[in-house]
């Protein structure tokens, strides 16, 4: 993989998708993480679902960013991007709030990505990944060339997401907002991560 390319793991994709599905009437957002070293391509290996209410209010966003930062340093991960799904499914353009947070992430990570989930493509049997990616180019966030975005084993990823829905495991997903409603819930989603990794076949090396 080379400079400018972005790889999105099954784990990260599945949790983003589950997050958007869990709150169909809300805008949701989260952070994209990488466990790989900096430089070269961006490998998004995991994500942390953050909010489904009041995305544009500061305190909880700041709190979440701080906590995820701490957790990342404890687990050798880095924040490499931000995702958002708008409540209005027909509008997948980045909101001012999305741009603001992505900008902050870019300050620490110069190949940060901004990922918008395209609600209109989230239906069973859709052949195209429901995502639109932006990268920082010439002081603005520009649409990324689709061909530089890798989703390994796309078919398998879709099937894994379907399995999570049919087994009811999609309900395991906890975002930061839900954690604040009940702090015994784990926003790092250890349990769900384990279930997803069980479904990912060891042969393809998806992380």
């Amino acid at each position: 993989m080379s400079m400018g390319e972005v790889e999105l793991s099954c784990l990260a994709y599945a949790k983003m998708y589950l997050h958007a599905s869990q709150f169909p009437r809300c805008s949701v957002n989260g952070l994209l993480l990488s466990s790989s070293a900096a430089g070269g391509a961006v490998c998004i290996t995991d994500c942390v679902p953050l909010l489904h209410t009041h995305l544009s209010l500061a305190p909880i966003t700041q709190l979440a960013l701080t906590q995820v930062d701490v957790w990342c340093s404890q687990t050798q991960q880095r924040i490499v991007g931000y995702y958002q799904a708008n409540a209005c499914a027909s509008d997948s353009s980045p909101t001012p709030c999305a741009l603001k947070i992505a900008e902050k992430i870019f300050e620490q990570c110069n190949n940060a990505v901004l990922l918008m989930i395209d609600g209109e493509k989230m239906f069973p049997g859709c052949r195209v990944p429901p995502i639109v990616m932006y990268e920082r180019k010439d002081a603005r966030w520009a649409l990324k060339d689709k061909h530089t975005i890798m989703l390994r084993q796309w078919e398998e990823t879709c099937s894994i997401v379907n399995q999570l829905f049919s087994s009811g495991d999609q309900a395991l997903l906890v975002d930061f907002d839900s954690h604040l409603d009940d702090i015994t819930k784990d926003w790092t989603n250890q349990k769900l991560n384990a279930k997803i990794m069980e479904l990912v076949s060891p042969a393809n090396g998806n992380v």
């Binding site: 209010l57 604040l180 790092t188």
Partner: protein, 288 residues
């Protein structure tokens, strides 16, 4: 589950205004299909409840059959017409839905339900400024409508118009002085507006929210963060700094305690507990 239990569940969900649509459809559909005759007059309100839940779950088949039963029983009802409108909204047939609501309003200009549905359509279409304008007009007439004030505050927050959002929340706090959620949301809006005065105000409202509900974690974190920021500001007097350091320290200890209790015996939240502990430690360093 027996019929009584199912009825009770549906009633509870109705009274508490829960939107657990999948469960409502599950329980409600069984009740309607298998036990309709035993429900008496309750059946009509159950049809309404199940119909709305069915729309949420894309179960147009179920929504349609519930609607037909209601239309048959209450042929000229505005309430049923509104349900028909909601079904059109769910099918994204907004023009047809609007026509239906307009006909209700022609008959009865004070029908608040129809007016609010029209505003919901504007929201669904992403027409925020129009929705805001209509909602403001609505509130001039129906100044006591709590639901509308809250909806308006949400719209203003989405548009980053924090001053107006604060105004709406002030209305809500006045009429609902015991509601800790409004105090806490007000604190969040003030914090977002920023500046020393707003941070101090935010801290006060987070504290108030905690007085009303000492388990509101957002308020606790909000208190911690706003007090920390005030204490760290170069513009405050030594006394104010000292007081805020105290407030922040208190909040930090409450947070630690809450997380200790939450983390007890649960391997999975060790990660979140550790993250909070480190965060509190690192913020301590920057404050002193």
């Amino acid at each position: 589950m027996n019929i009584e239990k199912m009825r009770d569940k549906l009633r509870k969900w109705r009274e508490e205004n829960f939107r657990n649509s999948e469960q409502i459809v599950d329980v409600g559909e069984e009740l309607i299909n298998e036990h309709a005759s035993k429900l008496g007059d309750d059946i009509w309100i159950i049809y309404e409840q199940v119909m709305i839940a069915a729309l949420d779950c894309s179960r147009d088949d179920l929504a349609w059959s519930c609607l037909q039963e209601l239309k048959r029983q209450f042929p000229d009802s505005h309430r049923v017409k509104r349900l028909a409108g909601m079904r059109l909204e769910a099918l994204e047939r907004y023009e047809d839905a609007n026509k239906l609501y307009d006909s209700i309003l022609q008959d009865d200009p004070t029908n608040t339900a129809a007016r609010k549905r029209k505003i919901s359509i504007l929201r669904a279409q992403g027409k925020s400024s129009e929705a805001i304008r209509e909602l403001n007009e609505y509130l001039e007439q129906f100044v006591g409508d709590q639901e509308a004030w809250h909806e308006l505050s949400e719209l203003y927050i989405n548009e980053h118009d924090y001053a107006k959002a604060a105004f709406c929340l002030e209305e809500l706090m006045m009429t609902n002085p015991h509601n800790h959620l409004y105090c806490e949301q007000y604190g969040e809006v003030k914090y977002t507006q920023g500046g020393l005065e707003n941070l101090e105000l935010a801290r006060k409202y987070f504290a108030q929210a905690l007085k009303l509900n000492n388990r509101n974690m957002r308020a606790l974190f909000g208190l911690y963060m706003s007090a920390s920021h005030v204490a760290a500001s170069p513009k405050v007097s030594a006394k104010v700094k000292k007081d805020n350091v105290k407030y922040a320290a208190w909040a930090a200890s409450q947070i630690s305690r809450a997380y200790q209790m939450a983390g007890r015996g649960k391997k999975e939240n060790k990660c979140s507990v550790k993250a909070v502990e480190e965060m509190l430690e690192s913020m301590q360093i920057t404050m002193s």
